[in-house]
Symmetry: D2
């Protein structure tokens, strides 16, 4: 922690600052410059950070120096982690493709989509049973019946399955049927849900909130990790900006930034970032080229009739072509992968 | 709904568009311009909106014309609503001041703060028992013990109380002790929680998500309203932008925009928007001048020692001065209040 | 300047960092914490800031501590400045109202608007002769003829005039006719233009760029100040965010932030921030309540027929009512004005 | 243009709307829905767009349907354009690499950098002589001497050169020495400069403003095109968002969006987007994977000593490795290139 004093802060104010730092169990290191006096804290920064510095007379500002996340950080675990689910690896130099429909609508559409994505090279099947919808009047998913169908499709086509949990009660339910629990972007700071999936002992796919910084995403992961679950997969899915030509702005830079900061696997979701199927393939290629460990894509055999987000679903043929390109690009970039 | 066809769309494509509209139970109105053909839908727009238009051959884009929220809209209820809680009015030309500490830390600090804000003119007491914190290592609130203290303080000083619920299980608990349930910014799109407070039969204070549009805030309110609860108070509390001089950017324009769009009362939270106590008074004055029905402010008798958000808490004397200014400004602007 | 070393940085790397600081003519102050080593620089920070710290082995990050603007800062000149133009004061506790049409369209419309705003209490007349337009096909202003008319209207109604300069050649031209030169938002970082108006010896109204931080606005002002012109008026006019309900997001917090940081007068433009005339009055009240020294508003006697930005122009009667409210609010808040 | 009337708009108001449209030389097409009445305009939309619709009684909102840019649009010229400069092609399926130092500092550093980028496979040499700097106290470039050196280096190593012009007077000067004129992000809406480079008869590299939408970038290009210059290259270089982990947010989606909207070649600048050299290679790979026609990268033989933006400069060996990857990725994606 660095405490910058106001120009002209008094001796008494400096003394008070030092006393607060020492009362919190840290040591203070005073550095008097020509224009400004700076006080560095040595010790556990978190204890000093809570001290409401802007209310302390004579203080201009206070800034944390160490990272607020420990378990998620490369400092603690320098080597990239690998998560294995039903024989499929995520992280560690492989490219993992998760694909399937946005929502489980009925048996036939799900099984058609599952067959198609398996054939095209997907390793994990996605499908939503509990959908968070902006409007209360939209289709909200099939619930447990959807989970049951998803599990059956996964078994039939030999793919572990990932599905979203929206509230605490969904967690034990989803654990019965799914291999990976997804926490959606709108729940990235739903701390009770994070703690609950942290206790569930199942890998967690954590999506970045649409206005969350990289640091906040890592702090959300820290909630899951601190609850005892070390199997967290991070997912960039587009952030909210002023640009309206796309539904969200795909923050492709977050991929290499996260890979440098954390040992957790990093994937991305080009479908939600784009919001339009025509952009999904270029964004998918971009994310893999930037060094992601995998991606999650929406695929539907008849997007025109999809009950949810059909606008961004790829048809199976476009998806199959895209996967081929992604493998070729991954072969170029995987030598740079930070392990 | 307006469907804009691509330049050069074929007759067959136009026919397919018209058929889709009619199959959804609406009528199509085709308008051939010099450069573009546009198809208008007449009927229930929501049914046509779900049709994944960007996947339909020949379609350039599709746009909704009517508002997606009905119950929250002025169209349904043109007159501004008034919510009454324990004798205190919110909306309808009065200025409602909610104040108190960020978090209930202990009995003494809460009662001191309650006494101070009551004396300064606050009508409603705030205090958190369940705090959503960005880091898992920060103080998370006293839980039910906090609620009990809050209720006691409210009774002693004659103020109804408002407190935040973070997850479903908090709702029945909070209903036992609190008069108004608050849904925080990070939960604005926690749809299960919205539905739950919608069923609780208690007024709801709904904070705008930090990257939510005005339209999304109204759709979140629609979830509560659609669950049968008509007592929703909207709260602007700062949005996330590129500017880092303040913690968030207080979107003061949202106040008149919301007042025009909805009959629900609109308040604001200058404390969280600013993140620094020195800015709270100017922002409080700005929000009242812009036409808000009230505000919610953090007050602490010893901000330096606060366990949560002390940086943005007002001391009682500054708060008392501010309330005087707010009343004077409200007297100037209340004649413009949209009823 | 604070240089934070990477955990595990070597002695040799630390030595290299210290040598770079000393070679730049500063002193280094090394502080070894439990987790991190921090090096503070004592001396002229600007010389150390240029050293490309992220390329230096062992360095995690480097951060400037002092403000990069000197002349604009309150540190240099703690007392709020007052600019006087043709008998009208800007800053120092008065409320200055600048008003008039967006663009000078013709003699009659300009004189009608000038008469109306004078009568309602405006002190300075605005009007554009060189308009920056997003599309090359839009009306770009009358040029010198517009300036001539503006000067004539200002003289007739006893108001100094302000007009925008868009490029270097406009500066000497505008100096012949106008009392204040405006640099528009899109030119806030047109450094050649800033230097040119800095040499012109005429007060400058500098609008904040639509994605400029407060710090960048002050650095832009520093260009004008460094060129020898101390008469700079800063103007908040809305920033670009994700919200589309308003044309821009009026950053009302920037007003108290700027008032604390700089001695320069701070005004605002509610017309461009809002983009819709219905929002102009509430935003005008908010900005004055937040402590601005004045505002600049677009007024047109027949907005429906305006050639530019008619959507955001106030009719004279609405403007007159608004000015009355602003004066009443200013009377409440001026006691807080930071002098 | 679509004019949406307010619910309950009167017959007289509808009539007035229709008259305004007809007075502007267009035809009105009235469509009465169950909830709303919509009026479509048939004819030259630009003439109707200027009519200040929000001031017209009974109008809820008005929306443009056709694109406001004509010359830049694919509608006018469906085939992707190719620009040829000194034997180097930009667009049309090739991958063009522009590289060199941020700023021309002196002869030796420039020639060393030019030799290195040529050897690594760059086709065009970049170098700044007139630098736009946020602070007036930073190094602003060598001016004409820098241009002279740049030209000499380009000739020696057989590369056309690109350099930035910051103000009108730089245009004829730069035309004497450079093959491509660059308009920087901060000048993207400097309309006088756009018109001037439009008249200069030299290819123009137009960078996206840091808060400009894709539509605004195309309108800025339209200024150059409308002045008679058809050789415009668009460049994505990162936009301003709330994320602070990178200097800007590289909007990789803008590449496929622009490729679909316009026939102009689209390149990108990973150096400015990232702001840190470690991120440049991943972003470069992402941009090429997304379908860009080329990129412009900063390379410096001794970044630690660079006078400007050394933090984001690649060393020659990293650059050479990166170019190899880019070529391999381009070979994968060029089959998708929209011609």
């Amino acid at each position: 922690m660095i405490i910058v004093l106001k120009p002209g802060a008094s001796e008494a104010q400096l003394k008070h600052v030092v006393e607060r730092i020492e009362a919190a169990g840290c040591r203070a290191h005073v550095s008097c410059g020509e224009e400004l006096t700076i006080v560095g804290c040595i010790g556990d920064e978190a204890r000093v950070e809570r001290l409401n510095w802007s209310t302390v007379p004579g203080v201009e500002r206070a800034e944390r120096i160490t990272k607020p996340y420990k378990l998620a950080s490369r400092q603690l675990q320098p080597k990239a982690g690998v998560i294995e689910v039903g024989g499929v690896k995520i992280g560690g130099g492989t490219l993992t493709v998760m694909a399937g429909p946005c929502t489980v609508e009925d048996r036939k559409m799900l099984f058609d989509a599952a067959a198609a994505v398996k054939k095209a090279g997907a390793g994990i099947l996605r499908g939503g049973a509990f959908k968070p919808r902006t409007s209360p009047y939209d289709f909200q998913g099939l619930g447990e019946e959807g989970l049951r169908l998803l599990q059956e499709a996964g078994r039939k086509y030999g793919m572990p399955v990932v599905t979203e949990v929206r509230t605490l009660a969904h967690v034990p339910l989803a654990c019965r049927y799914a291999d990976i629990l997804q926490v959606g972007a709108r729940n990235m700071q739903n701390y009770d849900l994070l703690t609950e999936v942290g206790r569930a002992g199942r890998p967690v796919l954590l999506k970045r909130g649409l206005s969350a910084t990289v640091k906040e995403l890592l702090l959300a992961a820290e909630y899951v990790l601190a609850a005892g679950n070390r199997q967290v997969i991070l997912c960039e899915r587009g952030i909210r900006t002023f640009e309206t030509a796309t539904r969200f702005t795909f923050d492709v830079s977050a991929i290499p930034v996260l890979k440098a900061e954390t040992h957790l696997p990093v994937i991305f979701d080009p479908s939600h970032a784009a919001g339009q199927w025509r952009l999904v393939a270029p964004l998918a290629r971009a994310g893999v080229a930037a060094g992601a460990d995998g991606l999650i894509v929406e695929v539907h055999c008849d997007p025109e009739e999809a009950k949810c987000d059909g606008d961004q679903a790829l048809r199976p043929d476009v998806f199959a072509d895209t996967v081929k390109d992604l493998k070729a690009i991954h072969a170029v970039v995987c030598k740079h992968a930070r392990r």
